[in-house]
Symmetry: C2
Amino acid sequence: MNFLEKRILKDGVVKEGNVLKVDSFLNHQMDINLFDEMGKEFKKRFEGKNINKILTIEASGIGIACVVARHFNVPVVFAKKSKSINLDGEMYVAEVESFTHKNKNNVIVSKKFLTSDDHVLIIDDFLANGCALQGLISIVNDAGATVEGIGIIIEKGFQSGGRIIRNLGYHLESLAIVEGMDHTTGEVYFREQGDK
Amino acid sequence: MNFLEKRILKDGVVKEGNVLKVDSFLNHQMDINLFDEMGKEFKKRFEGKNINKILTIEASGIGIACVVARHFNVPVVFAKKSKSINLDGEMYVAEVESFTHKNKNNVIVSKKFLTSDDHVLIIDDFLANGCALQGLISIVNDAGATVEGIGIIIEKGFQSGGRIIRNLGYHLESLAIVEGMDHTTGEVYFREQGDK
């Protein structure tokens, strides 16, 4: 069991409807030392990849991406969510659905900050059905840039997002893959990932 | 002239209506090495303060706060913007107006993550009229916690936010204070801050 799985068992809270609350250390209060461990781990898992930029999405991806970026010594670009398109200049746009909020948003990145020269590591906190991630990949592809890898903190392995992305041939690494949860006992079951 | 003022002159873009675009290094693409310099500088300016938590607000404050937090070795809590109140459990709420987006949002922090034991450094990217900052201060006060300091990246010194906050007795440090801008020449004028 790795450092993140241990932390999820210690401080995560399972709610009805396959909801895993990790707001005490990941997406409301943020444990920066834990984020630093994540950075080290992603650096190891994407060893040898030529990465010059990290792309994430607001809001809860940003903090993780910025701490992870120190281990790669690269800038971070975050995609903005917007009902309307109000950035000036030209931008890449993808429409994504939110599982949590049950709505649709445009996800936007300025063309200034993503070009065909970029080799991108995509970072996000959660992967479930994968809509947000598909939007980010589509934006990288629109830019003619290369997705070198995708680093996720918590993947819900019982939803289809991760499988689809791996089937498409992307190098996806999730620090914890939750296979199931039981809100009556509070138990969380992880997919075995070997000695990664 | 400090490292940030130099960077603003180099990469900031002045637009009509007193708009300073810093999206190439601060709030869309983010220069993590620059954020690290900011962290060092805030650590120096708030030397001797007993700080156990950083509070910021989504979205563009989060990345800065997380990198700055490494210099204080404390967790970060980010206030969420929401039209509705949809976090479970009890929360602190403040209503704030956005200068950029010309709308009102509730700003929300879970009561779990801010208590009367907390000594808080508030971090945000911009200070203009100070509405967002006033909301954050009000939330810290509601929690019975202590505002030990306020660290701002860019203050618009020609708007009233900074003056009001200093008049209220808060220890406010802005890494760059813009006194004026000229969009026809692209010039930016900073307030002299001595050898800080």
